[in-house]
Symmetry: C2
């Protein structure tokens, strides 16, 4: 797919990355980022920092891994060999900001066809807590494969295709590793809320019954949906429009056909949230994400 270019960027003498806390004059983007092949993202700054550290250890790089983002930034940014790491916060709007600034960074650095990998937590649908769900498609809460923006007051829909080649490679790889968890490939719903939009009964407001909730979730299951989260359509649609690729590897922390609340123990949560990184880390190592030392 051809990237949509923004010709207005050519008119800027200096481009300020407001949420990264640096500008195009802070350093030489081609020199600093020109070798990037992968971008790993997740919701929380702590979790992505820990993943960057684990990749640095795998690569034999001296710690600590320094945060490239400025001190007043809203996101963190780390780099290990050919991989960038950042957090995107919660939800599509926060994630779109990260995606705009990250793909501008790659544009100035001359990087093309980069694979974005979201390592997330999610609600599973018909799968046990601790199951890895890799998305074969990303849909909104109406089960449509689009992200909709409202640009200058008018609706614009963008496709949300995932890179199925990478999904298949990761699926095969998972079968050769002893991950001690199930790996499922299925559809992903991206919602704009954790409670009502995901059909939870335990928010401050709830206008539907247990039966109506289950009818919605079971219908989604019958359409091949296996998890619900809050950022997938933002990442895939933005990559589809900028010439990059995207996949989502999320771990279920609850089975939404059985429960709304996340009742697993703190220890299990800690263990589960590291599972996407175990699979993705191995994939990156085998696919030239790291420099052989």
């Amino acid at each position: 797919m051809q990237p949509i270019l923004n010709s207005h960027l050519n008119e800027l003498d200096e481009d300020i990355f407001h949420h990264f806390g640096f500008t195009t004059k802070s350093f030489d983007f081609k020199q600093k980022f020109g070798d990037v092949k992968f971008v790993c993202v997740c919701g929380s700054s702590n979790r992505i920092h820990n993943f960057a550290i684990s990749m640095a250890k795998l690569s034999g790089i001296q710690l600590p891994v320094e945060n490239i983002a400025g001190s007043h930034a809203r996101f963190v940014l780390y780099k290990v060999d050919h991989i960038l790491f950042a957090d995107h916060g919660i939800g599509i709007p926060s994630t779109l900001i990260l995606m705009h600034e990250m793909t501008k960074l790659l544009h100035y650095a001359g990087c093309k066809d980069v694979l974005f990998i979201r390592l997330g937590t999610c609600g599973g649908l018909g799968v046990k807590p601790g199951t890895l769900v890799m998305s074969d498609r990303c849909v909104n809460t109406k089960l449509e494969p689009y992200n909709e923006l409202c640009i200058l007051g008018k609706p614009v829909r963008r496709q949300t295709k995932v890179d199925l080649n990478a999904v298949n490679e990761l699926k095969k790889l998972s079968e050769n590793l002893s991950l001690q968890c199930s790996v499922v490939v299925g559809g992903t719903i991206t919602a704009n809320d954790f409670y009502e939009e995901q059909g939870r009964l335990d928010g401050a407001i709830c206008s539907f019954s247990q039966e109506e909730k289950l009818a919605y979730l079971k219908s989604a299951y019958d359409h091949g949906i296996r998890n619900l989260e809050m950022e997938g359509t933002a990442i895939t649609s933005h990559c589809n429009s900028t010439g990059h690729r995207a996949i989502l590897v999320c771990v279920a922390v609850v089975n939404r056909l059985e429960n709304d609340q996340v009742t697993i123990s703190a220890d299990d949560f800690k263990l589960f949230e590291q599972l996407p990184g175990k699979l993705v880390g191995e994939y990156l190592k085998r696919n030239s994400g790291l420099i052989a030392r």
Copy 2:
């Protein structure tokens, strides 16, 4: 307005606040939170922490102000006298999570008619950087006074009224203080993106011209809009539905009729982002937010 009750909550023996990292069994909510009259929120955890500290100093409370949220929480939570403080991240989805868990907390604590105050940064419309904008209404990017959710696949619109009494009180108060900044009352657009949805030309993707952008922003200005941000309709609509009240006090860091990028210096940014707290802090002190010691 009558609060919408969620009768499903009565069926829970223990309610897990997933993003605050505690449960209804962690402490006695009535005893710990029963005297809350105000909830102050902003996007960043650091900024709200600093504001909580400044209120604690005003009240003569011993520092530090302890974070009530659990160690694996996604939001922070502080309390000083009758005021709670929390961060909501960026955008409507992240903010809705905070609002669901915060209003459940107030529900269990028995607090009614609480005033939520968002202290934010924003893009100004026809106002200089450093101007305080207090919202007299909150609209989406189509200039409609609603927040739209998609619940079980179907669209639901909720009103976004602000508490005009509190806005008028704050406006009057601002005239009696030497704030060294302008205070403007006007409409607020809440967008689902920082770049394209706010008509910026400097994102990674841009499909419109400078002329089309200005036509949109000038039309909004003519409709009384004075700033653009990313959370207002989430906070107001959720308060409208749960029997609480909400106001927004945001400082402009750019005038969008003149610029897209935030070009003010880091020192000015630091100074400006404290302005909402200066006005709101004085308001809270005079309106029984703090206990006289």
